[in-house]
Amino acid sequence: MFKRKFWFFFLVAILLAAGGIYFHEKRNLSVISGGGKKPNVIIISVDSLRSDHVGVCGYQRQTTPNIDKLAKEGVMFKNYITQSYITPVSEMSMLTSTYPSASALVAMDTVSSEGILTIAQILQKYGYRTGAFGNSPEYKSYPAMEKSFSRGFDEYSVGMRREILPEQQKIFNFASEKSDKPFFLWIPLGSAHYPYGKFAENFSDPNYNGPLKSQNLDWFNGIIPWIYKNTLYQTDSGQITAKIPLSQADIQYVIDKYDGDIFGTDAWVGGLLDKLKEEGLDKNTIIVLQSEHGEDLNEHNYIHHYDIFDTMTRTPLIIKNPNSIRNNLILDDQTQSINVLPTILDYLDIPSPHQAVGVSLKPLIENNEKVSANDYIFIERTPLWEKTAFGGPAPRDDLSQVKEFLDRAKGRITAFYTQEDLDFITSPNSIHNRDVAVRTPGWKLIYRASKDFQEKYSWWNILSGEHPAVSEFELYDLKTDPTEQHNVIDRYPDIASQLEEKLIDFYNKTKLRDEPEIKKPIYDYF
């Protein structure tokens, strides 16, 4: 009898408890998710890393064993498209989920709009400790860039030298500080960016003895600007003194060095990730690794990031959330810079800022839901490189390097440009020149809104003395022509016109409206 009574009360108790929990949960679902310490966040940006030079994305060389390992712990997007092609411009799109024209950070001398919040500023509002530790000198050396990117950081430590990677101990000290607050780290690494040959030489041919041997593979004080169409131009006081033909082996020499710098950067990343693991700091930490632009390796006759072809705008993106249901995935889905901020905030249960134009990838990562918002990806080519090379403010240090390049180039430039042209290209007005592109998984259409500018000011024209006409529109079939060699606009007029409508609409909507704040050039050569 006692037993039966016991069971009766037991059952009633269970029923009441279950009901209570059910109704309580139902009412408080949204409240419950707000509790507890939010996960830490780390964004590692590897400058100049092409997607197809990453091991796990199918590169034949083992350039990135550590990045590959991170990809296995998370999700790798091998078709991650960057919103622009120059480091700070593209990176600001990633950190704010806006197009360059919307943030107003469209050149090395424009400050991003104050109303546009970076993820650092947002996380700071949510009580994060925020630190930037990197060695992409752009973020330090250009005053407008430092002003724009340092917003929202408690500690902003960006080195000026690409060959000196950030001190890892400093990063650990910041991350492991005893605190109730989660941390956010932004680690922009400039070490895979030219000058090439800074680190490991394990991919280089020791027997190479061609014309590029021992040359400085850099822009301002190196030979990068002087390589065009398999020719190395030699100059004296602006006059071309020799045109040395380059072979595939010479180009491969550069690629080997590039791969070596990727390897060196990857090793540093590996060290960082291992140490985080040792300290247990990876357990509640979302890690994002991405690159804000790639590098053309002679596919378009130069070794440089100069345009918005896939070689320069298709890079890797890895998102590792330790609590994700799915990992160890390599996804082909097109994604883009503007997805990063909404994805991270989605995982943190923080609303996206209203400026954000990208969508979260969380539904794709967790539930394999296709992201139709990424069917058409838009890219802005801003600023045009010539604006940066001749007209922009020079970096704060190493002015001698810039002077060296300009001294060498001056004869070519002044032979080409009138004083009026020089005045224009060095004035803030030239920031309004840009091209735009729309990319689908199969096609890319580029609108050369800067056609006249390009025909007139292209550095390669100045160098080579050639004046090829620029088409207003270029259509590429990415399936059959992944390196975008053949403009097939005449063969596919229907596809072109369908994409053109979207692209022109984008172009009109993204015009830079107000004059952005300009941080005056520190170095005014002309």
Partner: protein, 474 residues
């Protein structure tokens, strides 16, 4: 076996108890349901420019509103009701369409104002597909009549849409003395039909002066300042405030003005009482649903300015709402509600049939579930003003007492904790960055949902309301 039996028994007991509990509730409702007024007449009374804080039933220490107080004692008094705008033209239309101002688009007096083309904004032209509450009544077989003080609710803006009869005061800013007589005439003619009436008065408004002059009956101190009162002075102070962003008046000056405001509120309230007595005499009270609302408040120096329209502080958007049915008894509802909730509430209480067009249009939600106690939390209130193109402000007032205001022309952000700072004097935008961020994102979701072009909201200029001199654009 026994265990199974016990289990089944327990489940049966639970189900049975739930059933009985609900039946009990339903039975009570069907007997004399204070929330249903099927086939009732409906009168919406618009007390233009009545600030909630000046209504005695809402805690004002002076006895300004005995008639509204007595309505509240016999019905539902909403103590935290928020208007969707802070001036008449946009605000009343949100009551009558359950749309935000940017959706019904009646956001300024002029829809076009250039040297070549000046067009008064009219609902029929700028939002021809929008259905008004009067139309819904008409479609349900009611006769519909509107009697107003003209100006902001005049037929020229399309406020007459859906009304069989719509009589505006012959002169702008008329009080009840101009709207009640034609309303009573109409009632006498139509009292045997089901009717819907909008009865409106400008009697509390700054542009209204009592025809018999001020008695200063609420002035309880010896005022020796320079102010005299009256609509000309009010207009002057308004324009000074708009031009300078503030006024240099003393606390006594404001007290003096408050006394005049109280007098107008009290006189209008009394006139409303007279009207309700007439309703009684016509034997209509027992089959009439009465809803008293205001479109906005009035600023008398709370933020160093005069009048209304130009801000979204509580003195302008916190308004009284009272709903009384023949069977209702006193019930105070403290949850935050919105002007846009009134239309669906009336539709539900009067048992009106609505088509998909109306159902899809309505942005508010019936308050019946709140009035019968089923809904316990308040609702988020989004308000907007584009007053005279002088400013573009949007605000979000949360049920837990926070207000975020965004001013588009200068990207101004304000955050107030109404629980500790009901006067909205301490902007917490830098002190509460997370709260400010969250509310800003919510606010912009409304901007997005209402399909607004934020670039346009950055442009200011002049769109006259009171005959200000503006140079139209070429």
């Amino acid at each position: 076996m026994k265990k199974v039996f016990i289990g089944v028994l327990i489940i049966l007991i639970f189900v049975g108890a739930w059933f009985l509990g609900n039946r009990e509730k339903n039975k009570k409702l069907s007997e004399v349901d204070p929330l249903k007024c099927q086939d009732c007449n409906v009168i919406v009374v618009g007390m233009d420019a009545e600030q909630a804080a000046h209504v005695s039933a809402l805690g004002y220490p002076k006895d300004t509103t005995p008639v509204q107080d007595s309505l509240a004692r016999g019905g539902y008094l909403f103590t935290d009701a928020i208007a969707q705008s802070s001036w008449t033209v946009p605000s009343f239309m949100s009551y009558f369409t359950s749309l935000y101002p940017s959706e019904h688009k009646l956001v300024n007096k002029y829809s076009e104002f250039s040297s070549g083309n000046k067009a008064i904004a009219n609902l029929n032209n700028i939002s021809p597909d929008v259905v008004t509450l009067a139309q819904v009544f008409k479609d349900n077989g009611y006769v519909t009549g509107g009697f107003t003080g003209d100006a902001g609710v005049g037929a020229q803006f399309g406020y007459n849409k859906g009304f069989d009869t719509y009589v505006d005061s012959p002169t702008p800013f008329g009080g009840f003395e101009t709207s009640i007589p034609p309303a009573l005439d109409w009632l006498n003619k139509n009292k045997d039909h089901k009717f819907f009436m909008f009865l409106h008065s400008y009697g509390d408004h700054g542009q209204y002066d009592p025809p018999q002059g001020y008695t200063k009956k609420f002035l309880d101190f010896n005022y020796a300042g320079p102010l005299k009162g009256g609509k000309e002075e009010q207009a002057k102070l308004r324009e000074q405030g708009l031009a300078k962003g503030k006024l240099d008046l003393t606390e006594d000056d404001y007290r003096f003005w408050r006394a005049l405001y109280d007098e107008k509120i009290n006189d209008s309230d009394k006139q409303l009482g007279d009207f309700l007595s007439e309703l009684d005499k016509l034997d209509l009270t027992k089959k009439t649903l009465i809803v008293v609302v205001s479109d906005h408040g009035t600023e008398i120096g709370e933020h160093n300015r005069f009048d209304h329209g130009f801000s979204l502080y509580d003195e302008l958007i916190h308004v009284p709402i009272i709903i009384k049915t023949p069977a209702s008894t006193e019930k105070e509802i403290k949850n935050q509600v919105r002007a846009i909730d009134v239309m669906p509430t009336i539709i539900q209480m009067a048992g009106l049939k609505t088509n998909d067009q109306v159902n899809n249009q309505v942005k508010g939600k019936s308050l019946v579930s709140m009035m019968n106690g089923e809904e316990s939390s308040g609702r988020e209130a989004f308000s907007e003003t584009d007053y005279r193109n002088y400013t573009h402000k949007k605000s979000l007032r949360t049920p837990d007492g926070w207000k975020f205001i965004y001013t588009f022309e200068n990207d101004g952000r304000e955050l107030y904790n109404l629980n500790t700072d009901s006067g909205e004097t301490k902007n917490l935008i830098d002190n509460e960055p997370q709260k400010a961020y969250e509310l800003e994102q919510k606010l912009f979701q409304y901007i997005k949902d209402t399909g607004q072009d934020t670039d346009k909201l950055k442009e200011t200029g002049c769109l006259p309301v009171y005959g200000e001199v503006c140079t139209p654009k070429e």
